[in-house]
């Protein structure tokens, strides 16, 4: 695609209708996400965040539209993109009878990680997994599982990382720890990160740009600071409520 670096994600007219005749879960979504940025996908339950992420990952076939991930068309060339992407969600488990190290080895092989054992030990050290690296994943606490899931998501040093609620059900300390790890990873590698979250503080801290989804459509977009200014609010949670409840800035004031 020429000499210029392709965007991390190029999404054009992405639409998903699960049942013919029903309202689309995602309706004509278009955006271009550059490399090196952290973007947030915000929206209430049923806004289309999970459906969007599933289509970006190639897990779900769009009804129309297209996704180019790292320059690869997800409809025709998704495996080339998937090797350089990764994903984490608290709603998808890792095999719970395998130890942490065994789980990381499985995904190290699946992603073709070079010098895999060294990479695993680096992740064990970086995410402080040493105390439970040889325990079955099913015996870990929620916070430990999240750290392991994040280590799995970074095993192949992805250029594009998709995260679905990365700090859901974590205590504030662990949540802060995960956010710091994500910031560090992005700063060190220049990876692009797209995260869907209900934690507005997290989005304000991590994201350079936010897509506000409602009814499967982008109803607003901008940096957290720009959105706060636009809606005349002090924090992103109030902006979220305004958008979710369909209030414009004039109404708020």
């Amino acid at each position: 695609m020429g000499g210029m670096e392709t965007p991390a994600l190029l999404v054009e007219g992405l639409t998903k209708t699960y049942t013919p005749g029903a309202r689309p879960a995602v309706d004509g979504l278009s955006f271009t996400m550059p490399r090196g940025g952290t973007w947030g996908l915000l929206g209430g339950n049923g806004a289309g965040k999970s459906t969007t992420i599933a289509m970006l990952l190639g897990l779900l076939v769009p009804s129309s539209g297209r996704v180019l991930a790292l320059g690869h068309d997800m409809a025709t060339d998704r495996f080339a993109a998937l090797a350089r992407m990764n994903f984490s969600s608290p709603y998808i488990a890792l095999p719970h009878r395998l130890t942490v190290r065994e789980n990381l080895r499985v995904y190290g092989h699946l992603y073709g990680v070079p010098e895999m054992e060294r990479r695993i030990e680096d992740l064990v050290a970086e995410f402080d997994l040493g105390d439970f690296a040889d325990r079955p994943a099913g015996q870990l606490s929620a916070g430990q599982k999240t750290r392991v899931a994040l280590a799995k998501a970074l095993i192949n040093k992805p250029a594009l990382l998709l995260l679905d609620e990365p700090t859901a059900s974590l205590d504030p300390d662990t949540g802060d720890w995960v956010r710091s790890a994500l910031e560090r990873y992005r700063a060190e590698t220049g990876a692009a990160i797209l995260l869907a979250s209900h934690n507005m503080g997290e989005v304000e801290r991590l994201c350079s740009n936010v897509l506000m989804l409602k009814g499967g459509r982008v109803v607003d977009e901008g940096s957290p600071a720009a959105l706060l200014a636009k809606y005349g609010r002090d924090d992103l949670e109030e902006v979220f409520l305004d958008i979710a409840r369909g209030r414009e800035r004039a109404e708020v004031q």
Partner: protein, 267 residues
């Protein structure tokens, strides 16, 4: 097949081997049913040999040979389908399918696990048949290798179709993974010739690869000859069954991607 494909396939196999390394009840369960079948059929064989006038057929070992070879089909099918179900039970499919693992590589990994599980399951029964009843399955001759391959291929074809149904209906279809091959047994001529079946049922039996393998097994054990025609039919039918099952699997895999079932496949 490139080195990167082989590594991804090994990744999937490693995942299942790690599971078995940690769980001796799973390993024991693998061997339990084939050994039990062998013990029961061994005593039945001994009993029939005692009450029948003409014991030549029984002495040739067709019943015990049938038990052992049918277990290969059964364990091959279960080894494949249950390895897939392990991913469903652990809710790990989402991670698997967003990795660069191609669908055919997943199938190859499950087939490799099926081979390992079948060896672990059937080998003790083979040894037991020799030690307790003096029946060595190698009596069939070198053609045994082709029989084993043909029966395993049939097991994979059935398992691919079962896996497609699990993709379509979720873990609700898992009972098929355990039971579907048992339902084929009456028509597969495992313990009796196809000629015993009613004429209208014989074409059904002859469309099953295993029926030709067992006709071939009886020819080898009783007449000491290789039934090349049955051998050819078994291999050709395996090709047809595998092609059909692969088509069903790929169609259901695509449909699962259309419906969004890969993320939350379960009950």
């Amino acid at each position: 097949m490139g080195a990167s494909s082989l590594r991804r396939i090994w990744g999937l196999v490693y995942r299942h081997l790690a599971l078995y390394r940690r769980s001796w009840p799973r390993v024991l369960e693998l061997m339990y049913w084939p050994v039990l079948q062998m013990v029961v059929w061994g005593f039945i064989t001994a009993y029939l040999a005692g009450v029948q006038q003409n014991t030549a057929t029984i002495a040739a070992g067709v019943l015990l040979g049938g038990v052992l070879l049918w277990e290969i089909t059964l364990r091959s099918q279960m080894g494949f389908a249950i390895s897939f179900l392990e991913e469903v039970w652990s809710r790990n499919l989402g991670h698997i399918f967003v990795s660069p693992l191609r669908p055919w590589e997943m199938v190859a990994g499950l087939a490799a696990m099926s081979v390992l599980r079948t060896v672990a399951a059937v080998l003790p029964a083979i040894v037991l048949a020799f030690v307790l009843y003096g029946f060595g399955v190698w009596r069939i001759g070198p053609v045994l290798v082709v029989f084993v391959f043909a029966l395993m291929a049939m097991g994979w074809a059935v398992a691919l179709a079962v896996t497609a149904l699990i993709l379509r209906h979720g873990a609700g279809a898992e009972a098929l993974a355990w039971g579907v091959t048992f339902g084929i047994a009456p028509f597969a001529a495992v313990f009796y010739p196809v000629a015993v079946l009613p004429p209208w049922l014989q074409p059904v039996a002859l469309s099953i690869p295993a029926a030709h393998v067992f006709e071939g097994m009886r020819a080898a054990l009783i007449d000491g000859r290789i039934a090349w025609d049955h051998l050819a039919w078994a291999v050709a039918l395996d090709g047809v069954w595998l092609a059909l099952a692969a088509w069903i699997f790929l169609a259901q895999f695509h449909q699962a991607r259309v419906r969004g079932a890969l993320l939350n496949i379960g009950e």
